[in-house]
């Protein structure tokens, strides 16, 4: 698949801590096509943010280190790029939006300063041109009175407005890939949907691929073409959004779907929850990492780590020994998934 935009192969990112080596990302591989909208779903600590930070090469040694693997972006291995070339990629070809807009902007510089800094850096334009472009990008994210807002400081903005600024900053240089790490988690529910709509519309306009990282299935449901589910540093299931929602094949995905609250129907049954907590990624169990929490586990599961393999349906990948025999039905997932907002 040489036409893929991003190709991650056997990526392992480890952190050394006092307690031991944390295998935050442990051998994941995936590909992303140009313009594709991919949801990366998992509990906290599943390695989804570390995956994003690894792609941006923002893992700081000596604490964290990309141990093995390749990250090919437009045919080039990012891990072998020099610092200067990597700086061209960051912000220029791959932009990133972070979880907490309250702390992601530098408090002592104005919005205008910070926007124009990016634009000048990657587009090599003059200050006055950069200013025009900054105003334009603020208008794109529907910030009223964009010109006047340039001299405002981040603390004068609400959380939602700041995240709009972050989106403006991320998209101002027309990147080919936008990584959004839980972009709406810190916002209140009413703004979440607006921000997601805005971000994905702008990305679609620019034909920018999106890697949307979230623990919230409701968010990916409405916005993503494909979904990969991560658990304890590995990918356990991959498929189109439809397939994942209607025919989950991994017990973990099934559990996640069960624990999703829905607003469009009465709760006839209790919300299903996955028992236990994710394992510490320091002492990973031998065999399947989900085994201790899995109600379908068999002997083999405690001995052999299941690989990601084609599942029962076309294009779907799943890492479960019993994927072929299990018939996991989702409870009450209706056909209409647009614009839903879940807990």
């Amino acid at each position: 698949m040489s036409d893929s935009l991003l190709k991650v192969d056997n990526l392992r990112t480890y952190f050394s801590t006092e307690e031991g080596v944390v295998r935050a990302v442990d051998g994941i591989s995936f590909e992303l096509a140009p313009g594709e909208r991919r949801g990366v779903v998992g509990e906290s600590g599943s390695g989804k943010s570390v995956t994003a930070m690894s792609i941006m090469r923002l893992i700081e040694p000596p604490a964290g280190e990309i141990v093995t693997g390749t990250i090919e972006f437009q045919g080039e291995n990012l891990l072998t790029l020099g610092d200067d070339e990597m700086q061209q990629v960051r912000g220029g070809k791959i932009a990133m939006i972070f979880q907490d807009p309250m702390t992601a902007l530098n408090p002592v510089y104005t919005i205008g300063d910070q926007l124009m800094e990016t634009i000048i850096l990657h587009q090599g334009v003059s200050v006055s041109e950069a200013r025009d472009l900054a105003i334009e990008s603020l208008e794109d994210v529907q910030i009223p009175n964009a010109e006047g807002k340039l001299t405002d400081y981040p603390h004068q903005f609400s959380g939602g407005m700041r995240q709009r600024v972050m989106i403006a900053m991320g998209l101002s240089c027309n990147p080919d890939l936008l990584i959004a790490d839980e972009p709406t988690t810190a916002l209140d529910v009413t703004t979440q949907a607006q921000i997601m709509d805005l971000m994905l519309k702008l990305a679609a306009d620019r034909d920018t691929a999106v890697l949307l990282i979230t623990h919230d299935l409701g968010v990916v449901a409405g916005f993503c073409d494909t979904i990969q589910v991560m658990y304890a540093g590995g990918i356990v299931e991959y498929g189109t959004a439809d397939e994942i929602f209607h025919n989950p094949q991994h017990p973990y995905t099934w559990g996640l779907l069960g624990s999703m609250a829905r607003m469009d129907e009465a709760h006839q049954e209790r919300l299903h929850s996955i028992a236990g907590a994710p394992p510490s990624v320091i002492d990973l169990p031998i065999g399947c990492r989900f085994r201790p929490r899995c109600e379908f586990a068999i002997d083999k599961c405690s001995k052999v780590l299941p690989m990601l393999q084609p599942g029962k349906r076309e294009g779907q990948l799943v890492a479960c020994h019993r994927a072929a025999e299990l018939d996991l039905k989702t409870i009450g997932v209706s056909e209409d998934r647009s614009g839903e907002v879940a807990s």
């Binding site: 923002l58 220029g92 972070f98 530098n106 408090p107 800094e117 001299t151 603390h155």
Partner: protein, 383 residues
């Protein structure tokens, strides 16, 4: 903002009054009086009673206090040498008005602080003013003249020490943070701990003995002087000789005051820089594709250096204490040594004058630090 400054000034005034009451009452508790020493001199005998009445020492303590307070705040002489003071104040007021009215940027605060400092400096330099601070009990003459003749020496020492501590301590802490866990960082941390734990008088005497006395004894070169501010033959020297002579006298006492503060600044700056280096907005700056140098210089330094402003203002009280000790070790003719001499002799007009100056200095510096903090950090609001 103006309301905030006014309120702070009022609190400061209350603190100053409390300070004066406390120190004055303490001085009243001594068994003897300020004239005890004079009484030892048989020739002073006939004058003791006269002096007691003249200085009001026969009055009850509370009356003595109010007399002191009244005199202390009374202006004895006041005159403008020319119109510059009025012009400077009026100009500063005008610029303030224009800036507040028409400029939106936060940095106008920095401009204002600068303009007002300059205006006040011009105003003070072109004004003759003298308060009625009384006469020294131990025969050192008029207290106002006495104190201000010594203040220059203390300013010279204190400002040099502050300058040294800042230009060495802050970059040291930043460098340590950027190279966290490196050998240099660990060496710096241990060094800062040792300097931080060494009392100032040990540093002072140590420097004096090793770098001034023994160095001269062993090498025959006189690099530093042990005592005083200038050589007796200072007036006959040319400019270069004067500069060298001044530095030879200044460096050791300034370093002994600076060293502990320097260690404190380095430790504080390291911690504050580390916090910024791990902040979300620095990650944003990196994710934008900024080069590492620019990330540190533009996005980290400014944020990391804001808190040091507060530390410096808090440290000033400590430096004043350090100056008192250092001045008595190095025979530096500043107000610290004057204070020690006056307190030994219970020369209370001098003691009170010096204590009040120190108290006032601390209050003003704290207010200035708060304002500067607000200017540097746009998030701070005064209310």
């Amino acid at each position: 903002m103006l309301a905030y400054i006014t309120r702070r000034l009022v609190y400061g005034l209350v603190t100053l009054l409390a300070l004066s009451v406390i120190v004055f009452s303490l001085l009243q508790m001594t068994g003897g009086g300020p004239l005890d020493r004079l009484k030892l001199n048989p020739r002073m005998g006939p004058y003791i009673k006269q002096l007691t009445e003249l200085w009001g020492l026969d009055q009850p303590a509370w009356r003595q206090y109010f007399t002191w307070l009244k005199n202390y705040t009374t202006i004895e002489e006041f005159g403008l040498q020319n119109v510059l003071p009025l012009l400077a104040i009026a100009g500063a007021a005008g610029v303030t008005f224009l800036l507040i009215k028409f400029v939106k940027r936060q940095s106008k605060g920095l401009v204002l602080v600068g303009i007002w400092s300059l205006a006040l400096y011009i105003a003070i330099a072109n004004t003759t003013i003298k308060f009625n601070w009384g006469t020294s009990f131990s025969g050192s003459g008029d207290v106002w003249d006495l104190v201000w003749s010594r203040a220059g020496a203390t300013f010279r020492l204190g400002l040099t020490a502050l300058f040294l501590a800042l230009i060495i301590g802050v970059p040291l802490g930043i460098y340590q943070a950027v190279r966290q866990y490196s050998f240099f960082d660990q060496l710096g941390t241990i060094g800062a701990f040792i300097a931080f734990s060494t009392p100032i008088f040990i540093i002072g005497i140590g420097l004096q003995i090793v770098l001034a006395l023994y160095l001269e004894k062993w090498t025959g070169v006189k690099l530093f002087y042990v005592t005083g501010m200038n050589d007796p033959g200072y007036s006959g020297m040319n400019t270069i000789e004067r500069l060298v002579d001044t530095l030879q006298h200044l460096i050791l006492p300034a370093v002994s005051i600076a060293l502990i503060s320097l260690a404190g600044y380095a430790r504080f700056q390291r911690a504050s820089m580390l916090e910024v280096l791990h902040s979300d907005y620095l990650r944003t700056a990196k994710a934008k594709g900024l080069p590492r140098r620019k990330v540190i210089v533009k996005h980290a330094l400014r944020n990391a250096m804001i808190p040091i402003v507060t530390l410096v203002s808090l440290d000033l009280a400590f430096m004043i204490g350090g100056a008192i000790i250092t001045e008595s070790i190095f025979g530096w003719p500043g107000i610290g040594r004057l204070y020690i001499k006056a307190i030994t002799e219970i020369d209370y007009p001098v003691v009170m004058a010096v204590v009040m100056i120190i108290g006032l200095g601390l209050i003003i510096m704290n207010i200035v630090a708060d304002i500067l903090y607000g200017v540097l950090d746009p998030r701070v609001r005064y209310d």
